[in-house]
């Protein structure tokens, strides 16, 4: 029975699937077929096995799971007939991959087939091995493959060569066994053996230095000769493509020469003439010829310097670039991007053409060209190039704007010759494509603006005009709102007029108008609105005439459903109403933002953020993982002489600066969080430097202690009583109490669960950790563990941090600790609860690795341990 002609039922299935009108119908047909195949498998039906496999391959192609057919592949491979083996091997390659354990079972069949007398079966086995073999199989079967590299039939040799590539990639140690056989493949005449042999040699060179040395010394001339013969070969009908004999082999050989010549002057020398011949003689009116030229150019670029050849290569690329065929232009741009490392001058010559390609209608070409332009920019051409790109931004496709904007911003940032140019370009980008601009970009812009005092007036007037024209670009609105808030007086009084500006007349209420438009615009997100509120507060102080109007707007937001807005409105309102005497000081212009600090932060923001969130999340008793200095700086009074906010908490610097902290943090305790924030904000007025330490309790105590130093602290404590959530300066203790209460109340709730004795989980000379366990009746898998830490030494510990890791079958949820400070000699304790979910409940006991870090006497201490003596049945 032949599986390939008799497949009536296979045909039926394909027809049925083709006839399906909807995806649901198709799923139905596939489900039915799969069910039939499964039952055939379970009945061990050998007659239809091959047909079922063909069906499974079709189903697999459609994207349905077919793992249940994997064993069938193995059975087919083990059967004696060629057709069965043929389809079995195909199924093996399609349905299985090297990660599956089933694959190990096939090693034996493969070994037998590699030694089979039928060369086609040997070929099948080699092909399968080459496509899917794993490292273990590679080790087991490498000797067979090595032997087959010298098999009499070239069709087997070529497959053995590619199979060897897979083997040496899986097990690089085996590479040296293949060097000699691979070298002898280069002497072959059969193109299939040559192309695979060259590929094997190339990959050997990549894996092993020895192989590279060997081939360079022994084979460079031979490879040059092979290519020369190929280039000069007469017409060969079976390999001819558009008048060129086997372009694929050309390309492989050129690629191998590139590897041999790279970094080696002698080898490069011996191939120069041939490369020149290929570069000049190859026909460039057909795709095949261009493919060879393209490869040849890359080889010339990568081997050791030969200026004559380089000129030839650059000329070819120039010709490519002006070609009408988009494919050729694409590869030209691609290659120029690589060539820029070798000869930037030559690439610069094509700048105008490349810039035209940025505006091409084809997205692939645009993208390549933009990458290239980005590399071409330097100090001398940044201005014209940026102008071109920004002009194009106006008319570019929407989906290209994001890439384009990011590149322009990066160019401007990197090469800007002067501040006014930087500000001009960025403002233009914001006007055109503000919605595509990333947060870092406009944050950086504000830092630059802040650092250019002579441009404040110019910038704020520009932004005022832009905002009047349109409020559609979100980031433009943000920057404008911030600038008007800070420099509103300069806007109204035309301070710092530059020669290039047209004078404008703006009244105080005009300025308030634009902010009001921004806050009411439906485009504005909560960040913009919050910034607008802050700007209004500032304006109310700069323009006393507008004070009442600002108050009216603030009142509208007192009932806002957005907590941030509501809180700001309430706070600002009370500042206007009750604290006229400190208002002007509160809303003074922000100190110049420190550029160096900002760029440093930006560069190192990632690790900083990670480490800081680790620390602060433990520090804050309410478990809010955020740096402790949000609004502080905005309201900061006495830090005018401090160049930059010195909070070491990390996090996003500009969030601090702008008083914006609206990043959706995964905190569940929103009210507590803002309560603490508000407290920090208000209390920090007296002693901002205390913010260096980001632990909330510490700040509070410091602030309270400094009561006498800050003269205004009596007022402060009254301020701090304003926000609804904050009832008294000693608010932290209720929060802690609250948490304590929670952890204390849990055991009582769960008292109806099982009881477990408590245990000393960890004890060292300086620290003791006790675990108490409880379980709720409903969920036996979940254990609540309460860890109590006691200090056994005479020094108190600060920055206390407990970390734990569990094996995969467990899930650990760690609640924040009750404190980060552990008083000396057991005069207090830290309590931390965790919930452990045991997915193997009843089978495996709990286990845990722990690490405890703290500071004692100013020194960092780290203690580690493993806990495996948990009570059973947890």
């Amino acid at each position: 029975m032949n599986p390939f002609s008799s497949g009536t039922r296979l045909r039926d299935m394909i027809r049925a699937i083709r006839a399906c009108k909807t995806a649901a119908e198709e799923r139905g047909v596939v489900r039915k077929e799969c069910a039939a195949i499964r039952s055939a498998i379970s009945e061990n039906d050998a007659d239809y096995r091959h047909r079922n496999m063909a069906k499974l391959m079709f189903i697999h192609m459609l994207g349905y799971p077919t793992h249940f057919g994997q064993m069938e592949c193995l059975k087919l491979i083990a059967s004696p007939g060629f057709p069965e083996k043929r389809i079995g091997y195909l199924g093996l390659m399609l349905l299985l991959d090297e990660r599956q354990e089933v694959l190990m079972l096939v090693t034996n069949s493969l070994k037998q087939d590699l030694n089979h007398t039928n060369q086609y079966i040997v070929g099948l086995a080699l092909c399968a091995l080459g496509n899917i073999c794993s490292a273990e199989m590679a080790r087991d079967l490498a000797p067979e493959v090595e032997r087959l590299l010298q098999f009499r039939d070239p069709n087997v040799r070529k497959k053995a060569a590619l199979c060897s590539i897979r083997i040496i990639k899986k097990v690089p140690d085996l590479a040296e066994n293949f060097i000699n056989p691979a070298a002898s493949l280069l002497k072959e005449k059969h193109h299939g053996v040559l192309i695979t042999g060259v590929q094997l040699c190339t990959d050997l060179c990549r894996i092993s230095e020895d192989a590279l040395e060997y081939f360079r010394k022994k084979c460079t001339d031979a490879v040059v000769k092979v290519l020369k013969d190929l280039v000069n070969s007469p017409y060969a009908p079976e390999y001819d493509v558009a008048g060129i004999t086997d372009p694929f082999l050309h390309i492989r050989l050129l690629r191998f020469l590139r590897v041999l010549g790279h970094g080696d002057a002698d080898a490069s020398d011996s191939m120069n003439d041939l490369l020149a011949q290929v570069a000049t003689k190859t026909e460039s009116n057909k795709n095949a010829g261009n493919a060879i030229l393209y490869e040849c150019v890359e080889t010339i670029m990568n081997i050791e310097d030969n200026s004559g050849l380089r000129v030839l290569a650059i000329n070819i690329l120039g010709r490519f670039l002006s070609n009408r065929d988009n494919n050729i232009r694409y590869v030209a741009l691609n290659m120029l991007t690589r060539a820029i490392n070798f000869d930037a001058q030559a690439v610069q010559r094509h700048r105008a053409t490349i810039l035209e390609c940025v505006k091409d209608s084809d997205a692939s070409i645009r993208k390549r060209a933009l990458e290239l332009v980005y590399l071409l920019v330097n100090e001398s051409n940044v201005k014209p190039l940026t102008k071109e790109l920004i002009d194009y931004l106006e008319i570019s496709d929407l989906d290209f704007k994001e890439d384009l904007t990011a590149k322009i911003c990066s160019i401007v940032d990197k090469f800007s010759p002067e501040k006014i140019w930087y500000i001009d370009q960025m403002l233009k980008v914001l006007c055109e494509a503000g919605n595509y601009v990333k947060d870092e970009v406009w944050h950086a812009l504000i830092v630059v603006i802040s650092n250019a005092p002579n441009l404040h007036g110019y910038t704020v007037r520009f932004l005022y005009r832009a905002l009047q024209a349109s409020t559609e670009q979100e980031t433009l609105v943000k920057v404008a709102v911030w600038c008007i808030g800070e420099y509103g007086d300069m806007l109204v009084n035309n301070v710092g007029m530059l020669d290039i500006e047209d004078p404008i007349t703006v009244t105080e209420s005009d300025a308030a108008d634009v902010i009001e438009i921004a806050i009411k615009s439906h485009n504005s997100d909560v960040t913009t609105r919050a910034m607008s509120l802050a700007a209004l507060l500032k304006l109310s102080s700069r323009f006393p005439g507008c004070s009442q109007r600002v108050k009216d707007i603030l009142v509208q937001y007192k009932g806002s459903l957005l907590l941030e807005l509501q809180q700001r409105a309430l706070e600002f309102n009370s500042i206007i109403e009750k604290h006229q005497n400190i208002r002007s000081a509160l809303v003074e212009r922000m100190p110049v933002l420190d550029e160096a600090t900002y760029s440093g932060r930006r560069a190192g923001s990632l690790p900083a953020a990670v480490s800081s969130s680790n620390v602060t999340s433990v520090n804050l008793p309410n478990g809010v993982s955020k740096p402790a200095a949000p609004l502080v700086d905005l309201l900061d009074l006495s830090s005018d002489d401090v160049p930059a906010p010195s909070s070491s908490g990390g996090g996003d610097f500009l969030h601090d600066l702008l008083g914006v902290d609206l990043a959706p943090s995964p905190s569940q305790s929103g009210t507590q969080k803002s309560g603490t924030d508000a407290l920090l904000d208000l209390l920090s007025i007296g002693s901002p430097t205390a913010m260096n330490n980001s632990s909330t309790p510490d700040i509070l105590s410091l602030n309270l202690e400094s009561k006498s130093s800050g003269g205004s602290l009596d007022r402060l404590s009254s301020i701090s009583s304003i926000p609804a959530q904050v009832s008294s300066p000693s608010v932290t203790s209720p929060i802690v109490d609250l948490l304590d209460g929670l952890s204390a109340s849990q055991p009582t709730i769960e008292a109806n669960g099982q009881q477990f004795p408590s245990m000393v989980a960890f004890e060292s000379s300086s620290l003791k950790m006790t675990f108490d366990f409880s379980k709720s009746a409903g969920s036996p898998q979940v254990t609540t563990v309460t860890a109590t830490f006691a200090n056994l030494s005479a020094n108190s510990y600060t920055d206390f941090l407990f970390q734990a890791a569990v094996p995969k079958f467990l899930q650990l949820h760690l609640d924040p600790a009750s404190s980060t400070t552990l008083p000396a000699s057991g005069n207090g304790s830290i309590i931390q609860t965790m919930r452990i979910t045991n997915s193997q409940h009843g089978k495996k006991p709990l286990a845990m690795r722990i690490r405890i870090g703290y500071k004692a006497n100013g020194k960092d201490v780290l203690e580690e341990g493993q806990i495996s003596n948990f009570p059973r049945n947890l």
Partner: protein
């Protein structure tokens, strides 16, 4: 030559043949095929035959109602892959005689056999059409 996958897709975006030379789960495949098909089928005849997607470069070519898409590494010679697609189509043409979507659908295994003789582990094995087809014709004769 590092070919990562070969796809044949019809005008409606339905996959007609898929051969991957690296491991992807079924879900990853479906997602990848969907994304690529959406990107490539939206392009017009004048635009170039290369599309960058994730970390692949897709080289594609349309023959009547069938799109041939080949995913390759970023440093691969795009023009050569284009030539390879043409060789694949010529080979199928020689076997099926003016190959069409239905030939591939109903003789999926044969299409795979041909591809298998041409590409192994992402590298080109053979470019001679007679050599590629010899084992397949031999098998046809035997049956």
């Amino acid at each position: 030559m590092t070919i990562r996958f070969v796809l044949m897709v019809n005008k409606q975006g339905q996959t007609r043949l898929a051969q991957y030379y690296e491991y992807l789960t079924i879900d990853q495949r479906r997602a990848l095929e969907g994304e690529i098909v959406r990107k490539c089928l939206a392009r017009n005849e004048q635009q170039c035959s290369f599309v960058e997607h994730r970390n692949y470069k897709i080289v594609y070519r349309r023959y009547a109602s069938l799109f041939f898409l080949v995913g390759v590494d970023n440093d691969e010679n795009e023009l050569a892959i284009l030539e390879f697609i043409h060789l694949l189509v010529e080979t199928m043409d020689r076997h099926f005689g003016n190959v069409c979507e239905l030939d591939i659908m109903f003789h999926l295994e044969k299409a795979h056999f041909m591809l298998e003789e041409m590409v192994m582990n992402g590298c080109i094995v053979e470019t001679n059409k007679s050599n590629i087809l010899a084992p397949i014709q031999l098998m046809d004769k035997a049956s």
